[in-house]
Symmetry: C2
Subunit: 354 residues, 2 copies
């Protein structure tokens, strides 16, 4: 293994007492290290096949010697969990950071770009064939990262959505390497209705690839995905207005929103990376009865993708778990938005993360 | 107006006493008349524009002189509500017919092909521009049909999904022409989440038209629509099995189901007819406070397209309405499937349809 590293932000993180009274992030730069782990040889994959010369893009941010928490998000997440640089915010900047729900001033936060996605970790490119990726494969990459970085054990994995699936897969396979899980909006397997929505998304992207217009397919898929990420309650409150006449029929307020989100997404992500990770969600299937790591599971009653009943069933099967049910108009996206509701859950991790 | 008529089935419907004890339909043919109403001159449309030479394909089935009930279904419904010919079943054959929940042996059941759809009523063809169609426009066609057929007043309109929207629009505009409404899974306006799913469907179809493969777009749109028509509970019960390896990644059981439904649909319906009627649903917006016709509203708790809260809000605004809430794993499709639950509601129409 010949890692490549860089250091972003030379100053140590500000101590907690320097955080503004309103709980916002301090202006001081975060001590962050980034790198690429290059894995020599071949990595065998859970669903068959193998990948050679695999590269894993990682980032760890926080004070040296602080306990390490892995923070893993949805299939659109990446190694930059939080940042104080406004030009490059992290995907979880509303929840993770100094003074926030996950108090980054006293933790090192580790993450990585997903295998098979659009980031700097190995993924499908240019339409070339790429094997199916399992949440177990992502868990193996995390294990290899821990070995590479000399981290004996994670204080916790806080995983939401796909990241919660990977957290469960990791704890089943490598229980000695993590003390605690926080699993938000992710179960031991996916719900068939949720699979239904994703299969339509994938078929739309494949159809668009066949038509030579992959970005258009990705826009449509993301528009549909956005509807499933949020709740009917939120859409009713935001998009009750009248439609306007467009070039091809009427355009509805919710439609403009979804199209805008689809266009943003298609500008940043690759269609084949989306296909790979979307399928990986649907292939996720761990054995909850073999996951002995203490787990706080967080379910959202309005989540259309991971129904609260599936979170209850997960916790019933996990030997050492408690379920916290919350309500949020953000539905599946609650983990990105509900910092106040998550704060007591993240602060009370057994052993304490602070 | 120069109507064209045909008569299907010469024998009168069997009397109720001739129905099999199990409640199934008798073998006797139904007395049915079909025709095309050709409207001379121009019909002005609710959202602007007008249509010339409009043709309306209608059907009325049941004993002569019996009270007339209009039965109106979703955007895929058509004039053939029920039939005893197994080669051409009606779209509501599980609910409407001699001895069934809506007891057709003592009623004449009227319906018509939707304006703007894929049937024999005027609709968009071959990609030519076609105006936006309102539920009020469909209501006006029904009024013209009553005038043409010499029906002074409908005993009831039983409308489900889009047909329920048209029933509400009709009662607001022409209260003297109908005594009673039964409105199943349809509110005074559509829910923005429901609009979200349909706008993605329409954009997928338009994209496929642009790519020269309209049927492929219609398949994808129908696959998505089917997921919204049913409930997570049904899909969880039916599609929990393992995926199989396909040519382009894994294929999931729910995916095979949705694709099959999409292919069936694309073989029978026109993309531009789908676009027109799908948009018409989202444009639907009636003033419930001005609908004085006594109404039985039926809401399904598992309906993803018409949330039960919207049915409650509708009934709160209607001056003379009662709400019946039911549960069904068929979700929005409950009106097609739950004959036993609908039976007491359809039998107790004030004034009695029997």
């Amino acid at each position: 293994m010949s890692p490549t590293e860089s250091t972003a932000g030379a100053a140590p993180a500000a101590p907690a007492s320097a955080a503004p009274a309103d709980g916002g992030a301090p202006a001081a730069a975060i001590a962050a290290r980034e790198g690429i782990l290059e894995i020599a040889g071949s990595v065998r994959l859970h669903h068959g096949g193998a990948l050679d010369g695999l590269r894993v893009a990682w980032r760890i941010a926080g004070p040296a010697e602080a306990p390490v928490v892995a923070a893993l998000g949805g299939i659109s997440a990446h190694r930059r969990v939080y940042s104080t640089e406004p030009t490059a915010p992290g995907w979880w900047s509303e929840v993770v950071g100094p003074g926030l729900a996950l108090p980054a001033e006293s933790l090192r936060v580790l993450s990585f770009d997903w295998l098979g996605g659009s980031g700097d970790t190995t993924g499908p490119r240019g339409g070339a064939a790429f094997p199916a990726i399992s949440s177990y494969d992502q868990a193996e990459l995390l294990l290899r990262l821990l070995n590479h970085l000399g981290i004996r054990s994670l204080r916790a994995i806080v995983g939401a959505s796909y990241g919660g699936m990977v957290a469960l897969a990791f704890a089943e396979r490598y229980p000695e390497r993590v003390l605690q899980l926080v699993v938000i909006s992710a179960a031991d397997r996916t719900h068939p209705m949720s699979t239904a929505w994703r299969t339509v998304q994938r078929r739309t992207v494949r159809f668009a690839i066949d038509c030579g217009r992959p970005a258009e397919g990705l826009k449509l898929a993301r528009a549909l995905a956005m509807a499933t990420y949020r709740s009917p309650e939120e859409f009713a409150a935001r998009f009750g207005g009248a439609p306007r006449a467009g070039d091809r029929g009427f355009v509805f307020p919710v439609e403009e929103y979804l199209v805008a989100r689809g266009e943003e997404y298609a500008a940043r992500y690759q269609p084949d990376g989306f296909l790979c990770l979307s399928e990986s969600i649907d292939l996720h299937h761990v054995d909850a009865s073999r996951i002995f790591t203490p787990t706080v599971a967080v379910g959202v009653r309005e989540d259309q993708l991971v129904p609260i009943g599936d979170m209850r069933a997960l916790v019933a099967r996990l030997p050492h778990a408690q379920l916290h049910e919350m309500s949020s108009v953000y539905g599946h996206d609650a983990f990105l938005k509900e910092a106040e509701q998550l704060k007591p859950l993240l602060a009370r991790l057994p052993g304490g993360v602070r």
